[in-house]
Every structure is written in structure tokens, then in C-alpha cells.
Symmetry: C2
């Protein structure tokens, strides 16, 4: 039986992390609202520490550890936002973070993780090498593994973003999030279902990485096979804990084209003057593609992060 | 004798425009602070209506008109942010805006101004044609001309940004703004000198458009001659009203290279996840070039706007 967080766990997470994480602003745009004919409220996790919602979950995982476990540090394998988030959370608690990174990770990400003082172990860029190397590091150090999304405390931490959004802006008809591994979506669904039982929870995913869409509609967890999308935060396959929560609490998952992702990203950059990464643009892309009925509705959208290489933009 | 606003005029402007203009947020970045060794607070006028501080001045000019004058509308010649700002302010008051635009203005700017319901008259792209066409439009309509910076109410309106910054974040050692025509800088100087008599007011300007620098240091108003810079909001020459205020209240004007402007712009995009136009990056460029002593100091910086063509970025 998988242990799955309930709303009380999200409340507890919020209590724990609020002194470390930003309560990010919620923004809206009159001109985007005009284009889509709805009232959209964007929860700006691109303005969160390390530039992504991932800091919430990592922070909750780190600060939930007993003193004894914490003393042995935390570990994960990641080349992305979770690695930086875990490294920073560990630094804040004054404990070690052991991060296994593929040797071909972008220099900028290696630097970011190193900059937070993590112990980095490089490995070959295969899942097998990543998992094997992490197992070895954990055997040596006794560190607690913090999985980027298929983890009780991580899911509870990610759910605090939707909790804040609803606390700050009241009732919603629809709340949307992108879905990759499902950490953000499952946390969002737990908070929303509890606070707004009648609000729809809808996720959006790229056509080129549609494992959550296929899993949701076939009711069977299927992995991502050779996913390909500009939304590089959404390449991972759903976790089983995440899948269980999603099947229970999410109303729909829809997919969008790469062109729509780029168009939605550009629209947010141009009209809202904020930097979001492609993954963040996926829910608005679904609205632009009319995959979600929003006319006249009040819609909350979680902008997952703002980390991307400004040197290779799609426009 | 030029009529020049005092702080009471800025207070009055603030009273008048606060129901129309955003009280924009003030943001800061731990990582940029580490790089420069100072506490920087950025006043985000890129998040202002029409994406620039210009809305403050235009709004004050429009709402300061008597009913009788207002009925005849307002007019200006501009291809930039001021045109959009004046058009929106006029629309909010329900009066006509007559905008003279050079025929070669970017399509996106023509559309933006037309989108606010302004009456656009196109002219040849010379200063003579712009002024001549505007004079004719004003003769025909009786509209009040609202100059983009050399205007009493515009200066008072622009001063409300620094007023809010100081109200929100308390004392500062230095307050910085970019300088083009001098509307923002002169308003900023009036507010800062009044509220924080000991705070330095320092402006930054591109090397390639250094008329304010030359005017300030020679104590003689000299015009911009064939200015060339990526900071397209700073190409204009100082107004005489603006120059008088600047000579009286500004502590220093420094210049920066194009490379520094691009580097500072990229730094703000990457670390703060907000879109700013090149003009906004000029003060931080001056800090990066060590043209301004900021070590250990608390520095306020006005980010002037966020309007630029995402299709032709310098990185």
C-alpha cells in the first residue's frame, strides 16, 4: 500500500517551509484574459527560490527529516531543477546534499548545484548508471534519498503552491498545472479537491511526452517512451504514487503541440513581462488550443518555473 | 521662467493616478546582490500598464486637464511607449488621443496604439514632419499637446515611481534611473531629494547616446547627435525643463558600453525571471562597470520598461 499525503500533510508542509520558500505572487493579464475570454490567475513559481516550484517539495523533504537522519544528509539523481532545489534546502538546514548528475549535464546546471555546496558525483547518462551510482552513494553515506516526485514529502510540499493560490485569490472554476513526473499535479489535486471540491483539476502535457495522458485515459500506468518536447521539465514518466493520486483526484489530462507551447510561452513573456520555461506554458497552450473549456470561467494556472537557456530561445 | 514641479505636485499626481496605474512591485535578487556586493531594490515599471513608467506621466497629464480642455482631447508625436501610454490614459478618461506616428514605426507599435482607440496620423519619419503634422492636428482639434518628457505634469507623474519605491522600502543610499529625455530622471530626483535629502541620485546613459552626460558635465544643454544604442528608449535629447531639474538635483551621470547593457539585461532576465527592455538595464550596467560606488550600500533602481521585440534579442 503506497503512503499518500492528505491535505493535513500539505498544511504541515506549509507550516514547515514557509520561512524558507517565497510566497510567490499571483499575476494576471488583462490582454491575455481578453484573448481567451476567461479570468486567468497565474501562480508565479518561476519567481520561487531556484526558479521553480521544486524548492517547495525539496524543502519539505529536508526539513521533515529527524535530526538523526538529517545528520547523514540527503541524496538524489537529477540534472534539473530538483537537484538545485535539494542542494539549497540541504544547505539551509546545514546538512550534506549528495547529487548524482549525468556527466553531460549542461555546465550551467552543474555550476548551480555546485554553487549551493552540494557533493556532486558524475555518472554516465543512463538511468541505470544514475540509479546505480546513487545507490552506491547512499550505501556509503547513509543519506536519505529524496525522489524528485514519487515521494510523500515532495508531493505534500508541491501542494502548497495551489494552497497559496486559493488562499490568495479565493474560489476557482478550474485549476491547471503541467504534468511530467506528477509531483506538482498530484500535490495540486490534493489541495484543490480539499479546498474547492467543485473546482476542476486539469493537467496539460506535450504531445511528444504524453505518458500521463495515455496512463490517465487507459487507467494503466504506462511509461514515457523516447519523449521529445521543448518542455524539458516534462520528459519524465509518472510515478506510481503520483498516478494513484491523479486517478483519484484529477478531472482530465489534455495534450498540446510544440507550436502551441512556444506561442503560449511567447504570449506570457510579451504580455506579462516575466520569464517562464516552456514547461510552464503548457496549460495556457491547452487553453489556446481550446482543449479546455474556460469561457467566462475563473482559472488558476501554476507556472512551474523560469529556468532556461536564454542563448537558445525558440523565437 | 520654466514652470517646474515640486514634491507637492508629485504627491498630487500620485493622488490622481493611483486608481489607474499599478503600484508596481519592488523586487530583489540574492544572487545579483552577491555579484555586486550591495543591496539592490528594483522598482518594476516593466510591470506597469503599457509595460513602462510612461503611463504614470501620461495619466497625470490627461487627468489634470480641465473638463473643457479634456473634451478637445490630447495629442503627441511618438513611436514608442509614450504614444501607447497617452492613448490608454485618454481612453480611460473617455477622451480622444491624437497620435502622430512616423510611417516606418514598427507594426507592433502601430497596432498597440490603435488597439487603445487612438486617432493615428502617419507622417514622414523626420522630426520636422512629426512636429509639423502634430501642429496641424492640434490646430484642427484644439487638443492639448502632451510632450513625452519636457512637460510639467509628465515629470510630476514620473516622480511617483521613486515615491512608491521609497515608501515601500525605506531609506536608500543611492537611487538610480536611466536617462533619455530626462522625464523619469527629473521626477525621480524631485521625489528623492525631498524624501531622502542624503541619498545620492545617479543616472546612467549609454556611451552611444551620451547627451545628458555631456550636458551635465559641461553644464550646458547639448543635443543628441546621431545617437546609436540598443537602449532605444534613451535616444532622445534632454528637455530644457528636465535639464534644469537635473542640474539642480542629480549628483552624477555616468555612461556605459553596449556590452554592459546586454550583460546587465541578461543578468536580470536570468536571475530575476522578468523581462526588461535594454533601457532598463543601463543603471545595473553602470554598477557592473563599477562606474558607481555601491559596495555595502542600499541602492534603488528604477526598471523603466519591458517592451522589446522578442524576435530579435541580443543573445
Amino acid at each position: 500500500m503506497l503512503s499518500i499525503p492528505v491535505y493535513a500533510d500539505i498544511q504541515q508542509a506549509h507550516q514547515l517551509i514557509q520561512q524558507y520558500a517565497h510566497r510567490t505572487p499571483v499575476m494576471s493579464s488583462i490582454s491575455i484574459n481578453k484573448i481567451v475570454g476567461a479570468d486567468l490567475y497565474f501562480k508565479c513559481e518561476n519567481l520561487q527560490k531556484v526558479g521553480a516550484f521544486k524548492f517547495r517539495g525539496a524543502c519539505n523533504a529536508v526539513f521533515s527529516l529527524s535530526e538523526e537522519d538529517a545528520a547523514k544528509g540527503v541524496g538524489t539523481h537529477s540534472s534539473g531543477n530538483h537537484a538545485a532545489a535539494l542542494a539549497l534546502a540541504a544547505k539551509m538546514r546545514g546538512i550534506a546534499a549528495h547529487i548524482v548528475m549525468p556527466i553531460n549535464s549542461p555546465e550551467i546546471k552543474k555550476k548551480a548545484v555546485a554553487g549551493y555546496g552540494a557533493n556532486i558525483t558524475f555518472c554516465q547518462p543512463t538511468l541505470q548508471a544514475r540509479e546505480g551510482t546513487l545507490a552506491q552513494v547512499i550505501a556509503e553515506t547513509g543519506a536519505t534519498e529524496v525522489h524528485p516526485y514519487n515521494n510523500f514529502h515532495v508531493i505534500a510540499g508541491q501542494g502548497t503552491a495551489a494552497k497559496e493560490l486559493i488562499e490568495d485569490k479565493g474560489g476557482f472554476d478550474v485549476i491547471m498545472a503541467p504534468v511530467g513526473g506528477g509531483g506538482l499535479l498530484s500535490g495540486t489535486a490534493i489541495s484543490t479537491r480539499h479546498l474547492l471540491p467543485n473546482c476542476l483539476v486539469i493537467a496539460a502535457e506535450p504531445d511528444g511526452a504524453d505518458d500521463a495522458f495515455r496512463s490517465f485515459h487507459s487507467k494503466k500506468l504506462v511509461p514515457s517512451i523516447q519523449p521529445k518536447t521543448i518542455a524539458d521539465g516534462l520528459l519524465t514518466s509518472l510515478g506510481d504514487r503520483n498516478f494513484a493520486i491523479i486517478m483519484d483526484k484529477v478531472d482530465d489530462i489534455v495534450t498540446v503541440s510544440e507550436e502551441s507551447i512556444v506561442a503560449a510561452m511567447r504570449l506570457i513573456w510579451e504580455r506579462m513581462k516575466i520569464i517562464i520555461e516552456p514547461s510552464s506554458a503548457v496549460p495556457l497552450a491547452a487553453i489556446l488550443e481550446k482543449k479546455v473549456k474556460v469561457k467566462g470561467r475563473k482559472v488558476g494556472i501554476i507556472l512551474s518555473g523560469g529556468n532556461l537557456d536564454l542563448g537558445s530561445l525558440p523565437f
